[in-house]
């Protein structure tokens, strides 16, 4: 029983289909308290879909996802809110509310979910912004700061309620090398000292190997390889080697075929200007 008590996330035989295509095809893994799990894989391999199932914003076709020992796949919106208070999520774009200032964004979960006084909240906001190196940016609007800064504000907001678990969607993409190191150090501190658990989706191999205690590589909707950073680094699997060394040639196909894209309407290729273009062409 002690194993499952320390299991923060248990994903079991998770299947998600869009139409006939299985984006996630029987994925299983556990994450223990204090671990930092890095999920990697090429674009369109289902990383983001997997993440969305773990935060409960998508429902799987089959399989189960347990957070803190509770099955979340069958939960109603009201029940899942209770679980969501225990984790934070950093979105790829930061996903700050554009109508609020930086400070108000970080304060939002505190105002909504705690009874703290405005003074206390201001103190916490200052402290969280200092953690991500953005002291003094409280009163700016999100559209007045850079993309990397937005992401750091998003991180400060995700950490506002001192979560036990942090999900990050590409936390270091778009950050300069120094800021990447700062964000990595922050994640390491939180997991080592506060026993926070982290699940990080990342393309950035330097950062991934720096923070990970365990890594999972996804491909074609299933787990290609998993293990400690050393095991991954020394993996004999050519797909893994191609990915972590960023080689153009190898077993991973370069393009996702059109066939696989047919359920994503927004990326379906359309004829450019259609018949009108040909009409003008004929007469010119």
């Amino acid at each position: 029983m002690s194993i499952s008590e320390d299991s923060i996330i248990e994903v079991d035989e998770l299947v998600r289909k869009f139409g006939d295509r299985a984006v996630l095809d029987g994925i299983s893994f556990n994450v223990q308290r204090g671990e930092t799990l890095v999920i990697m894989g090429g674009s369109g391999c289902g990383k983001s879909t997997l993440l969305r199932h773990m935060i409960g914003s998508m429902k799987p076709t089959a399989g189960s996802v347990k957070l803190f020992g509770e099955e979340i796949t069958g939960m109603k919106e009201r029940e899942i809110e209770r679980v969501r208070l225990r984790f934070g999520m950093l979105f790829q774009s930061g996903a700050l509310l554009a109508s609020l200032t930086v400070g108000e964004n970080v304060a939002l979960p505190l105002f909504q979910h705690t009874d703290k006084s405005p003074d206390e909240i201001e103190q916490i906001v200052k402290q969280k912004l200092e953690m991500v190196g953005l002291t003094g940016f409280e009163d700016l609007k999100p559209d007045e700061i850079s993309g990397g800064m937005k992401k750091r504000v998003g991180l400060a907001r995700a950490l506002a309620l001192d979560p036990e678990l942090l999900f990050s969607d590409e936390p270091t993409s778009g950050l300069d090398p120094i800021m990447t190191a700062v964000v990595d150090q922050l994640t390491l501190n939180l997991t080592k000292r506060s026993h926070m658990t982290a699940v990080v989706v990342s393309h950035d191999m330097t950062s991934a190997f720096r923070i990970a205690t365990r890594m999972i590589m996804l491909g074609h909707g299933s787990i290609v390889a998993q293990g400690t950073p050393d095991e991954i680094r020394n993996s004999p699997n050519p797909e893994v080697q191609q990915f972590i060394h960023g080689k153009p040639d190898g077993p991973i196909p370069l393009n996702v075929s059109q066939e696989e894209h047919k359920d994503h309407q927004h990326v379906r290729p359309r004829p450019f200007l259609g018949g009108r273009f040909r009409f003008h062409h004929k007469h010119s």
Binding site: E81, R84, A95, R157
Partner: protein, 252 residues
């Protein structure tokens, strides 16, 4: 999205709205007052100049048309009656709803749609903040208060428009106009207009919020949703108006 799914989404939004307004406050989850006032300023106060201009023009037009037709019958004294009743019962609620659909409904749809495509709505959900409670409730309550308020304001300005024609172009004096206008209408005429405008408020804001929250596919999707919300709200509002007029004035 299929029609069935859209209707389902819309009904779900209405149910969840009712939950957050009527039931949640009794379980200790009060809605915050400050955002409601912010929305009231945006939806209502800022629309007042446009409403005033529209209502004044309508009042003037009604009086001129009435004068034109009633003159031939020698019944100019009934011009105030016609202006008053038309404004209170029909033109006031409908035209002011049209202004609010074009100005505030589209803005709400575009704002929520942009929030949806930039992952802000999902971020709220992940922070365990219900988007209906946080975004839709303040807009809904603001609209429910402000549209009837704007309608009263517009009626007043419209009646002034009628007065301007009667006073300066015809042989009315101010007291005569006011007396005649007040005599023609009873309180039910005012109340029927208020009920209509409250129903329109409901229709306009739920359609706008639903359009925004169900946006798919980037900036293009936001544009389509905004247009769709204006068209759907106008059609729904006009059809509802016909039904309500039938119930209020034609069924007894």
């Amino acid at each position: 999205m299929s029609l069935e799914l859209r209707v389902k989404n819309y009904l779900q939004l209405n149910l969840s709205l009712l939950y957050w307004i009527l039931i949640a406050p009794f379980t200790g989850q009060f809605f915050k007052i400050a955002p409601i006032f912010r929305q009231m300023v945006f939806i209502g106060v800022r629309a007042a100049p446009m409403v005033a201009l529209t209502a004044f023009s309508i009042g003037v037009t009604l009086a001129m048309q009435a004068a034109h037709s009633l003159e031939s019958l020698g019944a100019e004294m009934y011009i105030p009656d016609l202006v008053m009743l038309t404004l209170l019962r029909e033109m006031g609620p409908v035209l002011i709803a049209v202004i609010v659909i074009g100005r505030s409904g589209s803005a709400v749809a575009a704002e929520l749609g942009t929030m949806k495509v930039s992952e802000e709505i999902e971020a709220l959900e992940v922070m365990a903040i219900n988007p209906v409670q946080y975004l839709v409730v303040p807009r809904f309550l603001a609209m429910l208060v402000m549209l009837p308020a704007l309608t009263i304001f517009g009626n007043y300005i419209g009646i002034m428009g009628g007065w301007a024609v009667c006073r300066f172009a015809l042989d009315f004096n101010t007291a005569g106009y006011i007396l005649r206008a007040l005599e023609s209408a009873d309180t039910w005429d005012l109340y029927s207009g208020m009920i209509k405008s409250a129903v329109f408020a409901w229709i306009v804001i739920t359609i706008a919020c639903n359009a925004g929250l169900t946006v798919e596919g980037g900036a293009e999707g936001v544009g389509q949703a905004t247009t769709a919300s204006v068209v759907q709200a106008l059609l729904a509002m006009l059809v509802t108006n016909a039904v309500l007029t039938g119930i209020f004035f034609f069924s007894a």
